[in-house]
Amino acid sequence: MTAYLYQYLVGGLLFAAGLLVAARTGQIGLRPGAPARRLLLLVLGFLWFAALQGGLLFWGR
């Protein structure tokens, strides 16, 4: 569990910093269209790996 939390906290900081840069340059955002689609893809990708490894962690105990 420590490894999971460490990875998604430290990795999450890197991820959030990237999101911030992309948002500040207008490439992602909440307005409809390409920016929102890109944001959705990035967040879903993050959740996909978090769920996959979290699931394995829970199921593999």
């Binding site: 420590t2 490894a3 999971y4 460490y6 990875q7 430290v10 990795g11 999450g12 890197l14 991820f15 910093a17 990237g18 999101l19 840069v21 992309a22 500040r24 340059t25 207008g26 490439q27 992602i28 890109r38 893809l41 990035l42 990708g45 993050f46 996909w48 790996f49 996959l52 490894q53 394995l56 962690l57 199921w59 593999g60 105990r61």
Partner: protein
């Protein structure tokens, strides 16, 4: 043929001959250095995505991850599942900056962003990384062939490099990408086949899961032990330092993304590769180790072999004659697909970042293309010469880890600061690159320097934790130098950073419209080679005005963009049939398009 039966040997031989001829058949597409390094920038996302997979999975992957899978189970997949953290910064930071500035390499970016000195320093560090990477791939492949065929590691590597050279020097990036597609499919199929055979031998998925030793279903190894495979070491070495080095700095990956027909296709390729293909790749390269541990626990497979031999031992145990040849061909495919990319990439750095600036002569396409091919030969030979060096350096995993951890953090930090921070100066970049690399090598002599960053990992594991030390120390050097020195105003420096994307958006492309049309040949005096003539109907459908860019591509997807032309729109002066575009006869002939 050593330990291989005649049928398996025939399959391997057929693979060698087939892939070499297939790759060499793309020779006519390399007419310029831009073709040689960027495949004409016309590749679709699916082809780039498979190529990314094939480049990521080297032959060392089968040895390294099957070994880790055999010892630690599913935790061996950690490396392949932790790259997404960098994607926002890569897809919406570095990638659009590279597209927009039109650079072909990181040293070229540094030359434009800073000056010649920084470009040269970056070229030197990058060459260390690339040539070392080629050597590691050849070394692991040589060891695998040594175990299977009974031939020496060096002669085996020599034969494979010679075959790679035949097609890589012929078609450049086009050959690399198309052979990568075949090799990507093969390595997935080979790895998954071994896993499937093992699972079947254990009575299905239920039997496989039951037979796994305790703890083998965990996705992470223990936090900071054992020293040669622990979570925090892999995280800093692979996810943080390795991730930025591989996607941002690795010349092979950069050229691959720039070979896509547009920025959007490059992003699509990266997303598909990371979200779908790499997790599949993790299963393919680790599977032999997982089933090996399960088979041994059941008493079906005799134990006592070295973990590094897990892939070959398990493959030999499970595969019938013929199938073993296919699996070995998959291993060779993994090696060749990584080696060809790295050789092409190293050639780009040698020629564009060292040779051209030093020679300083005017551009001559024929001369440059010849230099590109010679550069590939030099890269291959240098990698080959490293094989005996790696032979005397511990286990494969340690060799790879120590190298990545020692060389890449300074370059990675310098690049990220360069495209994110307009105040990052040339002096700061130089100090980061040279000072950071020097401090990395100093930590090899004085391992105690790593201990504040070790997270409780014992000194035997500092090879991995050196990445954390390297990132921290390089970032501190770079930031301190930039803040301490007076920033020389560089005209338009913001344009070369991610903040330059604010004004123009992230893409060179305007709104995209797809139209299905027929092609017509027109007289040479009606249109130049880069002009597409359209009638009023198409002009309306495209919603574009004269002078806008269009990408005319064959509708048959399996050509992978090879039959395509990048043109500017012009209004036809003579009537064209409805739904047609007029192209110069030479363009039609080159793409083998028939009139109408």
């Amino acid at each position: 043929m050593g330990a291989l039966g005649p049928l398996d040997a025939a399959v391997v031989l057929a693979y060698f001959v087939g892939i070499t001829l297939f790759g060499a058949s793309f020779g006519r597409y390399a007419r310029s250095t831009r073709d040689f390094y960027l495949a004409g920038q016309r590749l679709p996302a699916w082809l780039v995505a498979f190529s990314l997979l094939a480049t990521t999975v080297g032959s060392y992957s089968f040895v390294k991850y099957a070994s880790a899978g055999y010892r630690f189970g599913l935790a061996s997949s950690q490396t392949y599942l932790n790259d997404w953290f960098w994607m926002p910064l890569f897809l919406f930071g570095w990638l659009p900056v590279a597209y927009r500035t039109g650079v072909l390499s990181v040293p070229e970016y540094f030359r434009r962003r800073f000056d010649e000195r920084v470009g040269l320093a970056a070229a030197a560090v990058l060459l260390l990384y690339l040539v070392g990477y080629i050597g590691i791939n050849l070394f692991t492949m040589g060891r695998a062939l040594e175990a299977l065929l009974g031939v020496g590691a060096f002669p085996a590597a020599l034969v494979v490099v010679a075959l790679v050279m035949v097609y890589e020097t012929s078609g450049g990036q086009t050959s690399v990408v198309f052979t990568d597609f075949v090799q990507g499919v093969m390595l997935l199929a080979g790895g998954l086949l071994v896993l499937a055979l093992g699972v079947a031998r254990l009575g299905g998925i239920g039997g496989f899961l039951e037979a796994l030793p305790p703890g083998h279903l965990q996705p992470f190894p223990p936090f900071n032990e054992p020293p040669d495979f622990n979570f925090v070491g892999i995280f800093w070495q692979d996810a943080v330092a390795g991730g930025v080095a591989f996607y941002f700095v690795n010349q092979g990956m950069l050229l691959r993304f720039l070979s896509a027909r547009s920025l959007a296709e490059g992003r699509k390729a990266a997303s598909v590769a990371l979200l779908v293909l790499l997790p599949l790749g993790a299963v393919a390269v680790s599977g032999a180790g997982w089933v090996g541990a399960a088979l041994e626990a059941r008493g079906v497979l005799p134990g006592g072999f070295r973990p590094d031999d897990a892939f070959l031992v398990v493959a030999k145990f499970l595969c019938r004659p013929g199938l073993l040849g296919l699996v070995l061909a998959a291993l060779l495919a993994a090696l060749m697909s990584t080696a060809d990319s790295l050789i092409n990439a190293t050639s780009a750095v040698l020629v564009r970042d060292l040779y051209r600036p030093c020679v300083g002569r005017a551009a001559d396409e024929r001369h440059d293309l010849a230099a590109a091919r010679i550069g590939s030969l030099v890269a291959g030979v240098c990698g080959l010469l490293l094989v005996p060096v790696y032979s005397s350096y511990g286990t494969v995993y340690e060799a790879h880890g120590a190298f990545i951890a020692a060389v890449t953090p300074p370059m990675a930090v310098a690049l990220v600061l360069a495209f994110l921070w307009p105040g990052f100066t040339a002096a700061a970049a130089l100090v980061t690159l040279l000072g950071g690399t020097a401090l990395m090598f100093l930590s090899l002599l004085l391992p105690g320097l790593v201990s504040p960053f070790a997270h409780g990992v014992t000194p035997q594991g500092y090879g991995f934790m050196r990445a954390c030390y390297g990132i921290a120390i390089s970032a501190a050097l770079g930031v301190a130098t930039a803040l301490a020195g007076r920033s020389r105003p560089v005209p338009d420096v913001e344009r070369l950073t991610v903040w330059g994307l604010r004004d123009r958006g992230d893409s060179r492309d305007g709104p995209r419209t797809r139209v299905r049309l027929r092609v017509r040949a027109v007289r040479a005096d009606s249109a130049g080679a880069g002009v597409a003539l359209v009638g009023p109907d198409l002009e309306e459908a495209l919603g574009r005005t004269e002078g806008c860019r269009v990408f005319v591509d064959d509708a048959r997807f399996w050509y992978g963009g090879l039959r395509s032309a990048r043109c500017r729109v012009a209004r036809a002066t003579e009537p064209l049939p409805g739904g047609s575009v007029g192209l110069q006869a030479e363009v039609m002939e080159r793409n083998r398009w028939r009139d109408g």
